[in-house]
């Protein structure tokens, strides 16, 4: 792998946003395709951050600054990715369910999904079931990701599952759930497709689901 891509990955892991931006431009100037810079530079760096986060080797601050650095790099790449016709690896809509305004965990999951090369539409907090469905339809999403922190709001996830199943999206999108009170047992009970206990595992599962669905 070229040195500059390794440098991009390494700078991203340290959260050095301005340097990531400059290195991405340098890689473009060297004639490296945008899709390669994305995959082997930026996303490779986020993969390392995600794995270390899962192993408790790095923590929320490191993930946040790495994600910010990645976004700076992607900003430089975006026009080239568009003109090269590079497709994203999948599309996910994400939000905290109705009645719940907690978004720290949801935001971490969003960053991790983006770090896997997925396009993520963040619907914010207090999101109604029909808003999840409408956004998934409008954006051609493969994934609907729901977060809840409260024991009082986790039943809203069932309403999202029901709303998806009552629409033409049934079977065409997968529903992922997570948040402190959620368990695998609960996900099974409400008919969600996937539960993950942390943000890094969620990103791995999301990518896997998208690959399965496009196969």
């Amino acid at each position: 792998m070229s040195e500059i891509l390794e440098e991009i990955s390494s700078l991203l892991q340290k959260g050095r946003a301005p340097k990531v931006k400059a290195a991405v431009q340098q890689a473009l100037d060297q004639g490296i395709p945008a899709s390669t810079i994305l995959q082997d530079g930026l996303l490779a760096g986020m993969d390392v951050v995600g794995a270390k986060f899962k192993n408790n080797e790095v923590f929320v601050p490191e993930v946040l600054v790495a994600a910010r650095a990645m976004n700076k790099g992607v900003e430089v790449l975006r026009p080239y990715l568009v003109s090269d016709g590079v497709e994203e690896k999948g599309v996910a809509v994400i939000g905290t369910v109705k009645g719940d305004m907690h978004d720290i965990g949801k935001n971490l999951v969003r960053m991790m999904l983006e770090g896997k090369g997925l396009r993520v539409i963040d619907l914010g907090v207090d999101v109604a079931p029909e808003t999840f469905v409408d956004a998934a339809r409008e954006n051609g999403a493969q994934l609907v990701c729901c977060s809840a922190l409260l024991t009082t709001t986790m039943p809203e996830m069932k309403n999202v599952v029901d709303a998806v199943n009552a629409s033409e999206l049934k079977g065409r999108v997968k529903i992922m759930v997570g948040g402190a009170p959620i368990t695998q047992e609960y996900a099974d009970e409400i008919g969600a497709d996937c539960y993950t206990p942390d943000a890094a595992t969620a990103a791995e599962a999301a990518l896997h689901l998208c690959e399965q669905m496009s196969a």
């Binding site: 959260g15 790095v58 601050p61 009645g99 305004m101 935001n107 009082t152 402190a180 009170p181």
Partner: protein, 427 residues
């Protein structure tokens, strides 16, 4: 032993005559107004509007009749100003929760109910300032609204940004603490915890400052957390400023309350998440520990108080540092977080740290278990946590609004029964 003696024994790592109980003495060992209202009814106590002592979480004041039934050994010496920055002048205003629970707020508070049922409140009751907190329809508490404008990373001004966030305690407040501490000390036998706060360094729940009219600088959660790595000099300057105010306020507070309080509550910063610590051990040691140490050292050099912090989450990697920096008591002992095993905590840190909480899981068991499951969990944990003293019973964090009264009673009654069984019946 009376309640005060019992708690003093426990926090000095001596086995008291029975396991001490806290019910509602702090802002993280309390009970939401809705649950409190129903619990009073369940226990046959007279119905009454619930006084609110912490507005954002909507925690209710536990009255003496209920405190006695729950057999709490601790009482809180609370701020004369609520978390919206509104002083308690004795005049109250009725506030109805979305589920109908009637409450009383300090009269200076102002709020709106929007057409969708959401309730918004104004900082310091000032309608000319942007609304700072929001309770959703069907909600039980307020969520904090981010209001600070974007900051300029090339021109960071920490002292200017936080000049309205910190303040020196007024003479009036000091007088209130003096009188109220005398009343609690002379007229009750409870252990007294001074809910002073002030050393919650980098508390993500406080940084957005719902009580400030126009917060500015780095105030959003994500920005603040990232700033610890991106602009550590900014964070350090804020902490330095905070320490200066805290040390001044501690002196004023000490002059006011003397040794009538036994414990001082200094910080509610969460250092843990469900799965691990919020930050690396290195970052904690570099950025946080020195400031906490200065505060704790002051307390130990100048008073007989024990220092008390609240931090949720999986914090086993930080507990050596927490003990080292002079913290005596840790709450809420979130045994539902990764690696937080009661036996391990007692074995490794039980001789240095007092554990306050941990009695029953408030994420699953207490809100959704049966009363039998609740009682069984409490009964199983008590012998482990209370071994050798160093333990005060409470649920893990506040009792949330929709918790069933029978489950709350099951949790506390299980402690009463355990105490009766092991230490003999009490009066």
């Amino acid at each position: 032993m009376n309640s005060r003696e019992r708690v003093i024994a426990a926090i000095n790592h001596k086995e008291p005559d029975r396991i001490p109980i806290d019910f509602g003495a702090t802002g993280q060992t309390g009970i939401n107004v809705c649950a409190l209202y129903r619990l009073r009814d369940y226990l046959g106590l007279p119905k009454k509007d619930v006084d609110v002592f912490e507005v954002i979480q909507m925690l209710g004041v536990v009255d003496e009749d209920l405190r006695q039934i729950m057999k709490s050994d601790v009482i809180g010496l609370n701020h004369p100003e609520d978390s919206m920055g509104v002083p308690d002048t004795g005049k109250k205003k009725k506030f109805i929760m979305p589920d109908g629970t009637p409450c009383l707020l300090n009269a200076g508070n102002e709020w709106d109910v929007d057409p969708d049922g959401s309730i918004y409140m104004y900082p310091q009751g000032d309608r000319s300032a942007p609304r700072s907190v929001k309770m959703l329809d069907h909600g039980y508490f307020f969520n904090i609204i981010d209001r600070a404008p974007e900051y300029d990373e090339d021109n960071l001004t920490p002292r200017e940004d936080f000049k309205n966030f910190f303040s020196v305690m007024s003479d009036e407040t000091a007088k209130y603490y003096e009188n109220e501490s005398k009343r609690l000390y002379d007229e009750t036998e409870y252990a007294i915890i001074g809910n002073l706060a002030g050393a919650g360094f980098g508390d993500p729940g406080a940084i957005p400052a719902p009580f400030e009219k126009h917060p500015k600088g780095i105030r959003k959660f994500d920005d603040w957390v990232a700033a610890q790595l991106m602009y550590p000099e900014y964070v350090e300057e804020v902490f330095e400023m905070q320490t200066e105010y805290m040390l001044k306020n501690l002196q004023i507070y000490k002059d006011a309350v003397g040794d009538r309080i036994q414990i001082v509550w200094i910080s509610g910063t969460d250092f843990g998440t469900q799965n691990g610590p919020f930050m690396s051990k290195d970052l904690f040691e570099e950025l946080y520990k020195p400031y906490y140490r200065r505060v704790c050292d002051w307390v130990h050099n100048n008073t007989n108080w024990k220092t008390y912090i609240h931090t949720c989450g999986a914090i086993t990697t930080l507990l050596d540092d927490i003990a080292d920096m002079g913290v005596d008591i840790v709450n809420p002992v979130q045994l539902s977080a990764k690696g937080m095993d009661a036996q391990l905590l007692k074995d490794k840190w039980g001789d240095r740290l007092v554990f306050w909480g941990g009695g029953v899981d408030t994420q699953h068991t207490l809100p959704s278990g049966t009363p039998e499951e609740v009682a069984a969990q409490v009964t199983e944990r008590l012998p482990v946590l209370s071994r050798g003293g160093g333990y005060v019973f409470n649920t893990i964090h506040n009792i949330v609004g929709d918790t069933k009264a029978e489950n709350i009673w099951a949790a506390f009654h299980a402690v009463h029964e355990y105490n009766d069984r092991h230490f003999g019946r009490q009066g």
